[in-house]
Symmetry: C2
Subunit: 202 residues, 2 copies
């Protein structure tokens, strides 16, 4: 039985994805520090971060004396990888433009880690989606960067906004790129004995 | 030079995609009759329908004496294919449930045709995206069908709404499944001599 769902992330994209699935949930952003070694393999990296984020919220609520036995806590983390390197959020517009120049006309991978705590049981895993960008001109890159959209986005683009036309082909779960692998989410719930039909309100 | 963009489709999904690309456009739904032989290969089928839809709007406006030399008219059509058969919109809830039962735990293909008229020059083509559905229980199918979401949707699902979690993997352009292959759109504009930077308002 589930009577409470908590998204341990402040990302508006992840919030939109859970809303799309018609879930009723609350947002309690994790305060976990992201201090995992960047040399870790990306799938392991995002899984560990997703776990840490969910665990930090769980520990915090339990320290307050809250009973979480019927609660699901969702932790997520997403990174973009190019040529073996993890590319995070751009520190400024120049780095965003450089990143998009590198991604243009080539393939990169997006990894999202997902961790679900249900009471004291946990499921965690990661999904990889490969993305092929079309050729993007310097002019288009700068116009996009100046729009502000790359700011705060791993890989400097948002596939669900004006960056949509960059991806000419993807292989994997689309929503994994946006920040939450929805199909894995439903399958992980099932492993925890939770049927999506019992929590989705449509 | 482009001073007017017309979407020859009443589909709210296609409208949303063009809005996402920050285009300023008007909607003039095509009144073309969809009388193409269903035996036609799907890529050819959607390309021909997209062409017919755009052409009907072009002819109608020209008959009124409008000058379309700086206008782009966009025609689109999308179908879902399973095992060589074209699956259209479900006529009722029972057909929607049957369709989803067939698509569960297997692959299908989505074809979108796109036709662009710019003055008297035309570009047309189609994209295919392959989609793998996870296993969906009978209970989940009926809950989804009863929500009304499958109505009016080719293949009886909406990947950009609650149907998102059905697709565990896609191979191709995501927006092609929603109804308008955005990357092909930008590349076709380029062939017509139009830079997306000159028409996108971001």
């Amino acid at each position: 039985m589930v009577d409470r769902i908590i998204l341990a992330s402040a990302s508006p994209r992840r919030k939109e994805i859970l809303e799309m699935l018609k879930l009723r949930f609350e947002v309690i952003p994790s305060e976990a520090e992201e201090n995992i070694d960047m040399e870790t393999a990306p799938g392991k990296y995002v899984t560990e971060l997703a776990l840490m984020k969910a665990k930090e919220v769980k520990d915090r609520l339990e320290a307050r004396g809250e009973d979480l036995s019927h609660t699901v806590i969702i932790g997520c983390d997403t990174v973009v990888c190019y040529d073996g390197m993890i590319i995070g959020k751009p520190p400024d517009d120049v780095h965003a433009a450089l990143t998009l120049g590198v991604l243009s006309d080539s393939w990169h991978s997006v990894y999202s880690g997902l961790a679900l705590w249900h009471g004291d049981v946990c499921e965690a895993g990661a999904e990889r989606t490969d993305v092929k960008f079309r050729e993007i001109s310097e002019r288009e890159i700068w116009k996009y960067v100046e729009s502000g959209e790359p700011r705060g986005k791993a890989g400097s683009y948002a596939i669900q906004l004006a960056g949509a036309s960059f991806a000419e082909r993807i292989e994997g779960d689309f929503y994994n790129i946006v920040g939450l692998p929805v199909s894995l989410f439903v399958r992980m719930l099932k492993k925890l004995g939770i049927d999506i039909c019992d929590i989705a309100e449509y």
